[in-house]
Symmetry: C2
Subunit: 196 residues, 2 copies
């Protein structure tokens, strides 16, 4: 296992190169050759470590999935029981979408690729489950699932339509999903007034 005679980090460097290529040119621009060029390794090396592109995509998606999870964990929105969860999640989404837009687009493109590539589905499903599990520290399981779905949908609309992210709108929508569950109420039922 420890035997990597010449280039111990070769495999990892290929994955990193694939992520850079996909972030720059999209999944459409990802091929054994482009990755090999980006990683500065010969073509045969990429085909040796990842016989098929799907294998490489799975490895890249697994690695990219950690991006949002890290932002979520670092935010402390889940660990502080007294805080407003909806506001915390809305802020996390803003950080993620605003901080590294190309990276966010890449993560989402890899995630969405599961629609047509069955090999990626288990990885995508695992990401959704793990995110829901993190949220389950603050709310019940059904609410957690719904929150993941809503966050997915909000991100989707921002990234797809190219529109700006509206944190206050996100907070309001997330708050409604949390509101009826056993999670903390924001304490002001009038916040979601129909007027506006």
């Amino acid at each position: 296992m420890t035997a990597r005679r010449h280039d111990p980090g070769r495999r990892q460097r290929i994955i990193d190169a694939a992520i850079r290529v996909a972030a720059r040119d999209g999944l459409a621009g990802l091929s054994h050759r482009t990755v090999a060029a980006e990683a500065d390794v010969p073509l045969g090396s990429t085909t040796y470590h990842f016989a098929t592109l799907d294998e490489l995509l799975v490895a890249a998606l697994c690695q990219a999935n950690e991006g949002f999870a890290r932002v979520l964990d670092d935010s402390g929105a889940l660990t502080a029981p007294g805080t407003d969860l909806a506001a915390g999640l809305a802020r996390v989404l803003g950080q993620w979408l605003g901080g590294d837009r190309p990276g966010a687009e890449l993560e989402y493109e890899l995630y969405l690729a599961a629609l047509r590539r069955p090999a990626l589905r288990p990885v995508a499903a695992r990401w959704a489950e793990e995110t829901a599990a993190r949220l389950a520290a603050r709310v019940d399981a059904v609410t957690a699932r719904a929150l993941v779905a809503l966050m997915d949908g909000i991100c989707l609309q921002v990234l797809l339509t190219g529109g700006a992210y509206d944190e206050e709108y996100a907070r309001e929508a997330l708050g409604r999903v949390i509101g009826h569950g056993p999670g903390r109420r924001t304490g002001d039922p009038g916040a979601g007034a129909p007027g506006t």
Copy 2:
């Protein structure tokens, strides 16, 4: 303009063929040649009517977008003021996802392609706006936007993870988003109990 000497429906037939190809093999399998073969027209004809693949995608997405809209309209969920909107929407999603799964996957794949193809973004944005506008007949604008996002996220998770669609869960989540707004309350706050 009315001048279509030999094959008046040529352009439309190419769009239809593109949709069939994309539904069968995915966007990755869509090319001028595959579309030409499916439509039974020579290669040059597809390049003549759609100089670039993006043009063809835009035309296909515009046409595919009508799929969900039709299901939504036919359901009557929006036109009957006295009914439970959340339940109606949940049922519509079930019909759409269960009725023509390949068609639904195609619609979503085209929709999601807007992430990397700016040419598709206006079309994707228009779909979201129009859907929200339809919902605005029953709820306020903010709620309508949130409902679209949540429906997007729910469909996404079903299609991406390959899991089954849970209509009762969808009804509950949609109901919470509507609940705080001017829409009808379901009247049973205990429905979202953490137990199940």
